[in-house]
């Protein structure tokens, strides 16, 4: 079967997010012999980003440069993506399940009157059809889902499908496409950076999360230090957010972010069912808590019963020794 799959790339601060490469790997899985077309929209560094997509498996890349694409808006990007889809008629479209992916893809799917499988964590091929696995009920259950008519259209959760090795010997055409991007009704006036200075929670391989046990805003400092040593991100339980120890943007759980890092260190978190829903599918879970009866120990791979303010500094020192 000759397929033509479009991967919508996503950049942050001028370089591609890793989930873009994971999306290319997903497209390759859907049809290894098919052509993978990358798409980059923006107004800077497009050539470099396109080249990176090629190194990670794209066969050719289309770039759309326009001042109205400097910051993502659904209307601006929607116009660019729809124009490329109309011209290329891909059999599938894959993108990361990120803030941008979640915003843009339902708009495109609605315009095309197609199905869209969002937040896929795995993919398998059966009789030439892509079958996606996705968590439902915040990871308390999973479903396998397929598209029954129209193009194969999915967003993939960061950090679950492995990207291909970067290969500088790969080559592919990079073409820039001129188009008019206008009639934008939603304008971004300002972007206030709060979270992206550190490692992004949704793509982090390691997460150190704090609960009510951290006791104060200052109590998060050792957790941040531990996360820094591990190259990870800091998260929180709803309890810590409700107590105003940290911003809601860090919340992990049923009404927060659902994460699947390689290592999740739960510090001073008791393990309410709503919190477990957001993190229980992490590959390895470590719990540090004073209360030996805390529910978190029931799902942790490793646990230390103790005062976090003693344990975390020791842990930082010990990890520094091996890093």
């Amino acid at each position: 079967m000759s397929e033509k799959l479009l991967v919508i790339g996503e950049s942050r601060d001028g370089s591609l997010r890793n989930v873009t490469f994971e999306a290319i790997a997903t497209a390759k899985k859907i049809n290894a012999d098919g052509e993978i077309i990358g798409l980059i929209c923006g107004n800077e560094n497009l050539q470099e980003q396109a080249q990176e997509m090629v190194y990670h498996g794209a066969d050719r890349v289309i770039t759309v440069k326009h001042d109205n694409l400097k910051t993502y808006t659904s209307e601006g990007y929607g116009q660019a993506v729809m124009a490329v889809i109309s011209e290329e008629s891909p059999t599938g479209v894959i993108m990361g399940h990120t803030a941008v992916g979640k915003d843009l893809t339902p708009k495109i799917a609605s315009k095309l009157e197609t199905g869209l499988i969002s937040d896929a964590t795995d993919i398998e091929m059966k009789d030439g059809k892509a079958i996606f696995t996705r968590p439902i009920y915040s990871g308390k259950a999973f479903e396998k889902k397929m598209i029954t008519s129209g193009i194969t259209f999915a967003t993939i959760r960061p950090n679950n499908i492995s990207a291909l090795e970067r290969d500088e010997s790969r080559s592919g055409d990079i073409t820039s496409k001129d188009m008019d991007i206008s009639d934008i009704r939603t304008v971004i006036k300002e972007v206030i950076r709060k979270a992206s200075e550190g490692v992004d929670l949704s793509e982090a391989k390691v997460i150190v999360a704090g609960g009510r046990g951290v006791k104060s805003e200052d109590g998060f400092k050792p957790l941040q230090e531990l996360a820094d040593v591990l190259g990870g991100a800091v998260g929180a339980s709803r309890g810590a957010c409700d107590a105003e120890y940290c911003d809601y943007s860090l919340q992990i759980g049923q009404t927060g972010k659902v994460v699947t890092p390689d290592l999740y260190i739960a510090v001073g978190i008791s393990g309410a069912i709503q919190h477990l829903a957001g993190m229980s599918n992490s590959k390895v879970i470590v719990a540090i808590n004073k209360d030996a009866e805390a529910n978190i120990f029931n799902i942790a791979d490793y646990g230390i019963v103790g005062d976090l303010f003693e344990v975390v500094p020791l842990l930082i020192e010990e990890i520094k020794k091996i890093k």
Binding site: D103, P106, A141, K144, K145, S280, A300, G303, V311
Partner: protein, 257 residues
Amino acid sequence: MNIYVLLKKTFDTEEKITVTNGQIEEDGAEFIINPYDEYAVEEAIKQRDEHGGEVTVVTVGDGDSEKQLRTALAMGADKAVLINTEDDLEEGDQFTTAKILEAYFDEKDVDLILAGNVAIDEASGQVGPRLAERLGIPFVTTITSLKIDGETVNIDKDVEGDVEKVETSLPLLVTCQQGLNDPRYPSLPGIMKAKKKPLEELEIDDLDLDEDELETKTKTIDIYLPPEKEAGRVLEGELDDQVKELVSLLKTEAKVL
């Protein structure tokens, strides 16, 4: 202002999930208003109180959704609409829900539609943006602040923790994120009043839609629970030694360091 809220009933967040014959077991489960939709209801009420007009809460679902619609009315919404698909649709997906809503909103005079940014059950987050696209109005997802001044709307949008200051205009669809407001609890007088507020029930036949237009575009093949996670090892001994052992286990056994 004509303000609409898209509302969905979901499992209570405390519910344990069980699967029978590849289906989520719903018997005996407690249902609530999807938590993100509660922010939408609250914001709709606040905007109406500030700017005038009325709030209509709309659900596509089964007859049991009436309970959650009554709760929204008790919070302060003015009217509710239940588009009951129970007898007409064997299965639905985000495409069909958006299509039904499109037919419902067709020729309605809409200023503002609010929805939750995601439902905590199927977690697709698609219906709001899909509907806005069908209606040809702008949409902004994951909002944490909404200020309306005439036709101009200023919004704070949460983008993975960063804040985007967005300016747009009515008519508009927004999806609501945690931090937007603190949803009120229905008061006793509110609950009494809600019983008398209008709750209209519609079926597919009442909308200008053919059933063959509502064929799903996706299909769920299987639903299953993740493998039960066994409790791991709680380390013992002096704290120093426990920490050393933990780091060693993470490096050699779990291979995550």
